[in-house]
Amino acid sequence: MSVQGPPAGSATEAPVLEARAVGKVFETFERAPGMLGVLKNFVARKKVDVTALADIDLSIHRGETVGLIGANGAGKTTLVKILTGIVPASSGEARLLGRDSFNLTNAEKSRLALVMGQKSQLWWDLPPIDSFHLLREIYSIDSGVFESRVQAFTRMLDVEDRLKIQLRQLSLGQRMKMEIIGAFLHDPDVVFLDEPTIGLDLVSRETIRQFLVKLAEERGVTYVLTSHDLEDIEETCRRIIVLDEGRIAFDGDLAGLTNQVAGKRAVEVHVEPGGTKNLGPLEAALAPLGAEITARAADSVTILVDAVRMRDVVPVLFENLAVRDLSIERQPLEHLVREIYSQSGRAGASLARGREGPGAT
């Protein structure tokens, strides 16, 4: 096994990925509906600028495993596209392995890999093994090494018997695993995974997570993973970046974040609709127990509480609310993230106003 350098990037080393004041504005044209609209568009199209990213600053060092999260339309994919050089940034500067991302040479590209959950990197009409051979050619992988990697990876991801079936005939999960194998065949140093677990079952997700963790450990691979499944991020990433409406709302250590809520539980209480109108008494009763209300809706309330105080808190809930159902989240990271969103919602308000049109979501 040949691990190069320290597992997680040291600050002295040049960053593998870097963004300085990166912004991205997509130019779109509003289309009026109907026949008249078509004519109108023909005469004068209305241009609408969509700000997908604004002022992104980050640097990621070798061996870092970064989870990129954010609501739909937050700009995660756009950031990935810019860092990998698929699209140019509208402003600022993005660098990969020290070179301007949009002008990567083959030298950098052969150290890069991209897995897109929504799009295939492999060839649709070929069986995976043929695609892998093409990749071997593209990345000039030594054939002995190639064989052993294909064998090892397919075994790790449990798809050994699917190598010769046309890609289009594989199930979503099997295809995704093949995509991931394809991405790691040339032993990349930087890997981007944009929603690699979308639509997969629990077992496949777990297999993929373990695969990523193992490779990160063995190879010191730097990866950036986006997912809407926080468990993916928790299990595979050490650093977390939260994007909100095109801006970084949080960037930091995942452990630090979870520590904040270590030993805490989020209790979600479901009540009859309208049953959360007057929470004053509940708040008053919870305060001495060190518990607080962190979210409320018409028919639910979420309370953050120390695990050890749980037995005191639960009766209080029943006393003050018409409880219909109750769920306890052991790792309230999800909860924290929601809080990050709601905080940056205020900070990002000016940005939100700057975005126009229906295309902004």
């Binding site: 140019p88 009409d125 093409l134 052993s148």
Partner: protein
């Protein structure tokens, strides 16, 4: 043992010089040729029929029109119209059936759809030029069409014998094929450039149709360029389509000689270089506009 026990990737990267780059591109080219073949052969049903029929209808219509024309002019026998006897026209049409099989056709490219649908995204992060794959399509197309053209020629000769176009010499055939090959590549470049406009435009097929009409008409697909009004013919003789379609047929018929071939080669090379420069320019500009849809 981990799959990385023998780590050669560093070494691979180190020798990523210009020489190995070229040879890698070449290997890739052949692989993609193979890949394109498999993709096309997959749709076996009607494959041969469609490929044989493609481009055959027009010349046959043309033949009927010509037959009527020559008859009404009373020039069916040995008479000629603007320097072409009816027998020669017959041979020209035979030549068209064969040559048009060889000339690159837009249907073998779908780059604009690939751009619209974001299918080129994956190639952009790989260490090679996307264009190499597209060139693979050109080569695959040409190889397959050579076989088909040979088949068409053989069938025609079997039926019509010497009334069919029989090249005057092997040398003339080689010279004609050189022109067709260069010209076909020019057509390929032109189509590729138009496809690349998909970075800016929603619809490019209308432009592709126009390009095809331009190539077909100025190339002499509906009548030999040398039979057209002199002014028109003189202009068309500077275009690549003339040297791709009309001229090679006349070379095989013996109406044009080695001097003309040399001149035509020069013109084609000039076009080829200009189109290649334009292609690079448009592609580079287009990539800056790319949005990578569907990701």
């Amino acid at each position: 043992m981990t799959p990385f026990a023998t780590d050669v990737s560093q070494a691979t990267r180190a020798r990523d010089g210009a020489g190995s780059q070229a040879s890698r591109n070449l290997r890739l080219l052949w692989r993609s040729v193979g890949y394109e073949f498999r993709k096309r052969i997959q749709f076996r049903t009607g494959f041969v029929v469609r490929e044989m029929m493609n481009g055959a209808v027009e010349p046959i219509i043309m033949l009927f029109v010509y037959a009527a024309l020559y008859r009404s002019a009373g020039a069916e026998g040995t008479g000629s119209l603007r320097g072409w006897s009816f027998d020669e026209i017959l041979k020209y049409v035979a030549g068209l059936l064969v040559v048009r099989k060889l000339v690159f056709h837009n249907r073998a490219l779908d780059v604009s759809t690939e751009i619209f649908e974001g299918r080129i995204t994956k190639y952009l992060v790989m260490p090679f030029r996307f264009f190499v794959l597209v060139q693979g399509r050109f080569i695959q197309y040409t190889l397959l069409q050579v076989v088909l053209a040979g088949l068409v020629w053989g069938i025609g000769y079997g039926i019509l014998g010497d009334r069919w176009l029989v090249p005057v010499s092997a040398a003339a055939t080689v010279q004609a094929m050189l022109l067709v090959g260069l010209g076909s590549y020019c057509c390929f470049l032109l189509y590729f450039i138009i496809h690349s406009l998909a970075f800016w435009l929603d619809v490019v097929w209308s432009l592709l149709v126009m390009a095809w009409f331009f190539i077909a008409f100025t190339g002499g697909s509906s009548m030999p360029v040398s039979q057209m009004p002199a002014g028109l013919a003189r202009v068309f003789e500077y275009g690549f389509p003339y040297w791709t379609i009309s001229a090679p047929i006349e070379v095989m018929m013996g109406r044009l000689g080695p001097g003309d071939v040399a001149r035509g080669t020069g013109i084609l090379v000039g076009w080829l270089i200009s189109l290649e420069v334009l292609r690079r320019f448009v592609w580079r500009r287009g990539l800056a506009k790319y949005v990578g849809a569907g990701m």
